[in-house]
């Protein structure tokens, strides 16, 4: 079972829990199980079935953008971390 690390900003959707243990063979599977009974979390993470662009997801500290995205395989003791991106700029 993989452990998902929930950032402080999203813990209101996990009853304050910093981590949630979820089964799944890929990051996508794990996330679908995570949001199955937390629809408000689904809205935070997904848009039209795809991960929102400003949400960073890591498997054992590797950004899944550089792995296989939501198809990245997850081993039993992996930690999946969610971290909203921090970005901005002087213009716009």
């Amino acid at each position: 079972m993989a452990t998902i690390r929930i950032p402080t900003v999203l813990r209101k959707h996990t009853d304050g829990h910093a981590t949630v243990d979820v089964d799944g063979a890929t990051v996508g599977d794990v996330f679908r199980a995570l949001v199955a009974d937390r629809p408000e979390l689904e809205e935070q993470l997904f848009e039209a079935g795809e991960l929102r662009g400003y949400v960073n997801v890591y498997v054992d500290d590797e950004d899944i953008r550089y792995l296989d995205g939501l198809d990245t395989p997850v081993a039993a003791n992996d930690e999946i971390a969610i971290m909203p991106a921090v970005a901005g700029g002087a213009l716009g």
Binding site: R5, P7, V9, D61, A81, V86, A87, G89, G92
Partner: protein, 148 residues
């Protein structure tokens, strides 16, 4: 969207203030960014983070460095501040800053080098598009401990 002047104070010791200004100059004219974690005794741990965009007008914190720094801050339950520099513009959150502000519990600090002779740091809360200014007050390390 609205802007307000709040009564909140963000205390920053002189060492950290100088470190942020130095960081802003270090990659001029590109924007720099990073996190601060304020500990219960008021002391601040500084996490400079690479700007993955290396742009003069945009910043994205390098994801892996962001994860490591944020994990340390969250695990210790330190107060979070997020900073970046504006190298040519005034220290106020841009529409981009406001739109992308994903951390309502954080103080957003902007280091401005607009006045080359007098760099400045200003602070803001950004919650659901509303911007409230936070007074950034420079203190001695001992003062910050006493008043945090």
């Amino acid at each position: 969207m609205s802007t307000a002047i709040g009564s909140e104070v963000f205390r920053i010791d002189q060492h950290t203030w100088t470190a942020l200004i130095d960081h802003a100059w270090s990659d001029f004219p590109y924007e720099v960014c990073g996190l601060l974690g304020t500990q219960p005794d008021g002391s601040i741990k500084h996490f400079p983070i690479d700007n993955a965009e290396r742009s003069m007008t945009y910043y994205v914190m390098e994801p892996r460095q962001l994860l490591r720094a944020m994990r340390e801050i969250e695990d210790h339950e330190w107060d979070l501040a997020i900073y970046h520099s504006h190298t040519h513009t005034h220290p106020y959150p841009s529409q981009t800053d406001i739109r992308l502000a994903a951390y309502p519990d954080a103080v957003y600090l902007i280091v401005t080098l607009q006045d080359r002779d007098a760099p400045d740091i200003r602070g803001f809360r950004i919650v659901d598009g509303d911007v409230t200014e936070v007074e950034v007050r420079r203190v001695d390390a001992t003062d910050s401990n006493a008043s945090a």
